[in-house]
Subunit: 320 residues, 2 copies
């Protein structure tokens, strides 16, 4: 019998937390803490795929691109290449730390990291209405100049200490992970595969069938769910900064939901129970995975993964 | 019978040439021209692995790291992470262009790009005598400060328009490609694998057996030869900016060597016939591949690959 296959999407805090500076030492320590929690799945005999976010890292890469052009006149790379850069750097770090953790726990498993393009549709309405804020905060004049030069789109940004204009890019729906077939082969040979970093490098086929890079970012949970369905994973884990799914979150009648079925979860979603920029997209990714035949989707903190008592589990029918 | 397996190491000019600025458009066009020449190997039925250099790209990433710290106080990443970033960005670009070229030529093959750590020995003498120049040119004062802060080592640099001090890092001997086994599995399933970019991300095991990143760069031809031997490739190609191996290069008695056997090639190498910073390391990589059982090593320009009449071939025994 085939082993159970799990896709685990690591949240941003798996690598960088709150007020940290983002040094390599901090990122490695966070990665180690997170990855140790996954040893539970290895012990249980799962084949394992790991995906991860890239928000702060690709943000830094974009800022460095800007700074490199200003100070040294180095050509800036487009957003798709910056995402690919971040997959390389983050993926390598995760892989190296994971190799050490596996050794410490006495597991002898291969780990590989894939640079992963994910197909989107250039006619996705998201391209008409970009919402995802990326890169540095500019003045109005700078923003106007960049719109002229590069057709970048800006929205006003108000933050604690800075305000100004920030580039917005589309966050289109992921349609297909281009290397899903190869990923499935590798993971079924027992190799742990780190892939779909930052939601994947967004690519699309133009009207002539030519594959091009898109100036966009893809939601990592959504892309990870697409991969999980494509390769017929049994379980899908989203590790984030809350231990459970709540309904009526932060209200008097707040309630932890530990076991959820598909129908109720969909109803709560439609009732607006989950934050739009936060829990709702995670819930949608889980529901999409269950719809397409996935057995169990879990949302929890990495540190709660080991104890099966914790975390919220979504299945087609109730199952506790 | 298994198909023939070839490892092709693309030279720097496969992506960036002479006086180009390094825009993404230039890099894509160069990549397309180079990759079209590899269709010859696909047509002949080879399983194929592609490696590539990263000199200008990782140089730019280092400069952007410096600029990002200066302008925005963004933590700089160590060299191993910068190399991994460059594997992500370059690998993605090559993969996307290759997918388009394959389609244009009517081939239906999978392509994947691996982030690839390569093991070196931290006791390699190269770490005592770093020679590889990387990153920007600093003033003496800046260089001294960076030596104090980060223990970077500098050497004086004299260039056309700028002179000053440049960081030097070790270029240790690659011992092992950590994912060779997985790479072999994938390529034998017919997938084209892009790997060992920039010679691989240098890693080493410390005295406690912990895998760490090394502040170093690895010669891509040398690392590609190690991979080719590990996975028992039949043929090893180094694509560069000369069509042939010459002896007595640029002298009156200059001679093209189209067919070379192991013994003569080794003799020429020992006679100092090949430039130390240039052809000699390529020849050494080819000889190492042949020594370990490889059937044929080829050094030529990418554009000469298709015509079997061109290029220099090194085999154990003469064979024309």
């Amino acid at each position: 019998m085939e082993k159970k296959l799990a896709v685990v999407a690591l949240g941003g805090n798996a690598l960088l937390r709150g007020n940290q500076l983002g040094t390599i030492q901090e990122q490695e320590k966070n990665a180690e803490d997170t990855l140790k929690n996954l040893m539970f799945l290895i012990k249980e005999g799962y084949d394992l795929i790991i995906s991860h976010g890239n928000g702060p890292q690709v943000g830094n890469i974009l800022m460095r691109n800007d700074a490199g052009e200003q100070l040294y006149n180095i050509a800036q790379m487009p957003l798709d290449v910056c995402v690919a850069d971040s997959q390389g750097g983050i993926g390598y770090m995760l892989e190296r730390v994971l190799r050490n953790v596996l050794k410490e726990y006495g597991y002898n498993k291969e780990v590989v990291t894939l640079v992963t393009p994910v197909e989107v549709d250039i006619n996705d309405p998201a391209f008409k209405n970009p919402t995802k804020r990326v890169g540095k905060i500019y003045t109005k004049e700078q923003a106007d100049e960049l719109t002229r030069q590069k057709a970048w789109i800006f929205k006003e940004e108000v933050k604690d200490l800075a305000s100004g204009w920030r580039r917005v890019v589309a966050s289109p729906v992921p349609k297909r992970v281009l290397n899903a077939h190869v990923i499935e082969n590798m993971v079924r040979l027992g190799t742990i595969v780190i892939t779909v970093g930052g939601g994947g490098v967004p690519v699309y086929y133009d009207e002539n069938g030519v594959l091009k890079g898109a100036e966009a970012v893809i939601d990592k949970d959504s892309a990870s769910a697409v991969l999980a369905s494509l390769i017929k994973a049994d379980e899908f884990y989203i590790l984030t900064d809350v231990p459970y799914i709540f309904i009526n979150y932060k209200k008097e009648n707040q309630e932890i939901k530990e076991f959820l079925d598909y129908k109720d979860t969909k109803m709560y979603l439609e009732q607006g129970m989950f934050g739009e920029g936060n829990m709702a997209p995670k819930i949608k990714s889980c529901l999409s995975f269950i719809e397409k035949g996935g057995k169990k989707a879990v949302i929890t903190e990495a540190t709660k993964l080991e104890d099966k008592k914790y975390g919220s589990k979504i299945t087609m029918e109730y199952e506790d």
